[in-house]
Point group: C3
Chain length 497, copies 3
């Protein structure tokens, strides 16, 4: 379909882009653009309006400390003076990349990884590598309890002779369900031929691809996907700072962060006024660039006061300002010490941060002092707009809510334990029966909603009627009702014999 | 309430609007504006900022092929040189319009229909007329299975003596529930008098009005409502191209297209950057006008590459780029050959695209070759930004997901079939009992969510916890649980006698 | 952390801001800014870009009647000629404010209340004070039926010996769930010391704070929080007019106003085009400033036609244009006469606007004449864009839908009444059992969704599958099913003995 004329025009376009003098585009990248501006024009144009296409690492490094978007102190000479083009990223570290292949004479990698991005952004890559996000694949895969839950939920079921049988989930379903967010294991297993608009070409045959999950295992051995939040090929800080990015994964019913934000006053103000704000400046100035926080404001961005003083340091370890974990697996608990949570063992020997009755696996969780330190950072962010008293009262409320929602989970745990004891449910797989799934909802959906609503300054509907207290309460009653009926039926059966 | 002064001012406004020379407004339309700029000022102003108020068909036709927004090769002399005003649309085809009436000396139609729009947009009207959307009214009304479902869901229920009885739905509830999207049958049944700000006037007495459903039956005999997506009276291409328009109907839990898009990376990028994009240009240029697709990008818009080559032709037949039907009625299947799906008969003689156990009514569905052709068009759109391999892997995943979700539906069908066999549920109406409604949810809500998430490049929550695999799995367990308890109770009752 | 240098810089900033001549900032406010531009810079900057920071009451009062944003005919001399700064609001009415305290030599209130805002906005404060919103705290707290529902839903539950026991909700959970929207009782109970960036300071010890609920009881004895909709410290009319503000509370499943709007054609147009509209002009001109309504357009804003004629007067009594109440407590009914609904007594002596079977407490509700008057105001708004016939047909549909959804509630009430009669459920608390909670959902969630969809010009999914007719129907079947099984079990138990 593509004619030679288009190809020539594209090469000319690429050449003129570079001939203009500034910004200096490497000859390799000019080669990429030569074809790709007609083969995949969308991503070329996306890159052309990015900062990467207009700035060299040298220019980036010349900025003052607070304004720098690049954390490398030094960048290799070959990269330093050219804009960050296709080949500058896709051509990095070929020796480590199992997905490196010869593409029209260029040795390129299909997958650009945090290992590659660390060439210019080593601090961010380092912070990220220790986060729970970077470990999101292994945290499911290497945790037998979570993996049982995964397999139970997304495994294929079949009915025969009145029984439901289950087989393990397909790699496709893993890829688009749980591991859509957590990331997949992308491996190169040789080459394959694809028929493209330019004819047949050979490309690496990758497993579990495409995927941009936060904990993706890359063919170079690194973990994560920077494109989860900085989508290709603009790698925009604006996109990453807007809450729509986080909402790709942090959604009701299990992690209702976006929904709670959307309902909150912070969300109201941002949604109403965002087009008058600045989402690109570095550092990000409270009151000048924005008037209400987005997700990244509170959780990771480098924030300064209009007078230039630093309110909070940037961190790409997303837990850096978090002291408690709200998810409730099964109960809320202090943040894990390490991003790899599969190493945790609770008092029952299970890889869970608490026991089924709520006792924390303290050895693997941060202590009170570290909790206080992190909470202090978060409170500094709040105090950019709120008084000390306001802030302290807000978090006192959260403390209370964590205790209460944990008690509501414990109530459900007592009911399911009774069912297990009576033989109404079978604990061998604690996740696969209808009654057990009500218990799961208590801590995986309903407790979480109340906690997120409490933590994120208020989404009263998520505390009340939308997966909140209403459901915590109703679910307990439904559990008790079901247990009661099953007990009666069991009694009838027995008395019959 | 309106004074003479306002009326005079309004007429003057209308006159001065025209006196300015360009654009030329017909005298009839000036007459309309004379009153309506004070009677219904909102729609007059809406029109005034539209393209229709500023361009004549002659100007529209003078544009080059790709830039044309008007597909007529010729337009009647009386219309050609005037802007497209009130009377140019509401005065068309009076002989066909049962809703034509004398309004202060002008013969106008209340309802402007696709038949009228086809005066300037015949290709679009023709494409639309063959679509499932244009046939959306009849596809429910003339399909006894679907109509049973409709009547069961929205029919009024009453409880007496411990029994729930059901009467057919009112025309009002039909109008605002199912037929709010599918469209109503709008007929003129004589005239009636209404008391307006200008005094009592006689207007046609229309049934099931107001309605803008996509398959509306109009008083001129045509089907559809262009205003479903191009709302009055700006008829904006920008609005139609933005995803909020599609979300008027394509919403969870039965058609979660908007919700899946909203969570997807495409949605993230659009929501973050849309104000820097161009939603009005024709043709629509990948990479220049936009950097991530909206609904219309993939499904209908005329797309070109920055080099001017056509990536995909425009089509107002919304199925033109679709090869499979994800809804799952009851199983996913090849797209129907015709927009009128009420003609389909499956192997059991039912008007469904598959049997209850999944066998397709192949005669009425497109064949593999046509499927491949359409898939090819869609893949061309993907390849505007994504590599061939990426695109092929994406659709391989979808193929697998369709099979798996169909199996999850089959599992539920086996359970409900057992219930029917045992007399636990009564198949005479397969949709009206609590247990049957769990079966419906499996294919109408949960299977769909997983499929849409898979097809639209990823909304992992809709594949997992939000009406996805979690619900597919839990619903099966709930069904089995209910059947088990009912079987035991049935056994007890029997053993008692 | 803050150094002296910052402090000096901040004072200089504040001074220079005022030295520029215009606008005149009071010396007290300069004092506030002196510290707070470094202590809480976000809110200082927020205020700096507000109208309050740029306009004096005198300037506001000088505008023509329709353009005025200030309803006071006279403002005290001391306030009149200065911009509305920190101290102008936080320093008002110290004698009435139990939360007044000495703060670095200034006597300030923590909580600014409607009583304080009424200094310049007396008409709005007066209208608001009579609304159901202003009475939202007492309407729950002083209504024993509603309070039972509140306590049942958000009370802490514990399981012991197979029984669920309930304790009253904590003040924290009240604050963030029901009373997050309804407002809390904020009282000053002496002073306390907080450790701030400026050192230890003494501040009032407030109960149930922070909170911005619409019916908040303030330490000065007034009711409400203007900041519910005009968030601090820009107090923007733009934010209040955008629908995101209302969505802070009016959300599915109990009050799905935002969700219905979001799906509606009005919502589609606003979301697509809002950045081209004007949300700040007073008055608000139909067709010029906006082309589709937001929540405030229909419910409260001062609207004019492009010719300057008034379409609807502004009102901060949010029920001023409402004739029916859609919530359905338990059935839809005429609007209450007074904002304080706790005074209502129905024929059964209960504080509900209808009996459990639907008979209205007519004495406390507006009569048909007042209903017609209010409906007339709302219809004037509709007619800004829609014909009289369109508008009348729309509301005829709503009338029918109210009757039908009330009948669907009555059907559920008959089922639960049978359960109460048979002893399957215990009416002593009509809200605490699983079966009763299904009955609650019928009128609190599902009936409401259908009604909102009908009233707000169409969200067909909310009428159909999303908490709509599907759920109204399915819920009845689930109730009947549960009752049937419990009856059978009861029968078995009896026949056993």
């Amino acid at each position: 379909m593509k004619t030679l004329a288009f190809f020539v025009a594209a090469v000319f376009l690429a050449a003129s882009f570079s001939l203009a003098g500034e910004p200096p585009v490497s000859s390799e990248t000019q080669g990429c653009i030569g074809c790709h501006s007609s083969v995949t024009p969308g991503i070329v144009k996306d890159w052309m309006q990015s900062r990467h296409s207009k700035t060299t690492p040298a220019e980036g490094m010349a900025k003052s400390e607070l304004k720098r978007r690049i954390s490398a102190k030094e960048v290799a000479a070959g990269l330093k003076a050219k804009v960050v083009g296709c080949y500058e990223c896709h051509g990095l570290n070929p020796e480590r990349h199992k997905d490196n292949f010869d593409h029209y004479g260029y040795k390129v990698n299909v997958v650009v990884s945090p290992g590659d991005c660390s060439t210019c952004h080593p601090v961010e890559a380092e912070q990220y590598s220790g986060s729970k996000k970077a470990n999101a694949w292994g945290n499911l895969q290497y945790n037998p309890v979570y993996l049982t839950l995964v397999n139970t939920v997304i495994g294929l079921k079949q009915v025969s002779d009145d029984t439901i049988t289950m087989s393990p989930p397909s790699h496709f379903t893993r890829q688009e369900a749980c591991f859509g967010c957590h990331g997949t294991k992308v491996e190169a297993r040789g080459m394959k031929t694809v028929q493209t608009a330019m004819g047949a070409i050979k490309v690496p045959d990758l497993t579990n691809w495409p995927n941009q999950g936060v904990g993706r295992l890359n063919p170079d051995g690194t973990k994560g996907a920077c494109t989860s939040c900085h989508p290709r090929h603009s790698f925009s800080i604006e996109v990453a700072r807007k809450p729509y990015t986080c909402s790709q994964c942090h959604l009701e019913p299990d992690v209702p962060a976006w929904n709670v934000y959307d309902e909150s006053k912070h969300g109201d103000i941002l949604l109403s006024e965002q087009n008058q704000w600045n989402f690109t400046d570095v550092p990000w100035t409270v009151g000048e660039d924005f008037l209400a926080p987005s997700c990244s404001t509170c959780h990771m961005s480098l924030l300064v006061s209009p007078d230039g003083s630093v309110i909070a340091e940037r961190s790409h370890d997303f837990g850096a300002r978090l002291w408690v974990r709200l998810f409730g697996l099964i109960y809320s608990h202090a943040q894990p010490k390490k991003g790899d949570t599969s190493i945790i063992r609770n008092a029952d020997g299970l890889p869970l941060p608490t026991t089924f009755t709520g006792e924390p696996a303290a050895k693997y969780l941060i202590d009170k002092q570290e909790q206080a330190r992190r909470k202090g950072i978060m409170m500094s962010v709040c105090k950019g707009c709120h008084s000390t008293d306001w802030t302290e009262m807000h978090f006192a409320k959260l403390d209370s809510t964590l205790q209460e929602t944990d008690k509501m989970t414990l109530a459900a745990t007592k009911l399911i334990s009774e069912a297990w004891r009576l033989g109404i449910a079978d604990k061998s797989n604690p996740f696969d029966e209808a009654l057990e799934q009500k218990w799961i909802k208590q801590w995986l959906f309903f407790g979480n909603s109340v906690r997120y609503s409490s933590a994120m300054t208020g989404a009263p509907d998520y505390a009340a009627f939308k997966y909140g207290w209403w459901d915590l309460t109703n679910n307990l009653q439904e559990m008790r009702d079901k247990i009661e009926m099953k007990k009666k039926l069991m009694h009838e059966e027995r008395s019959e014999h």
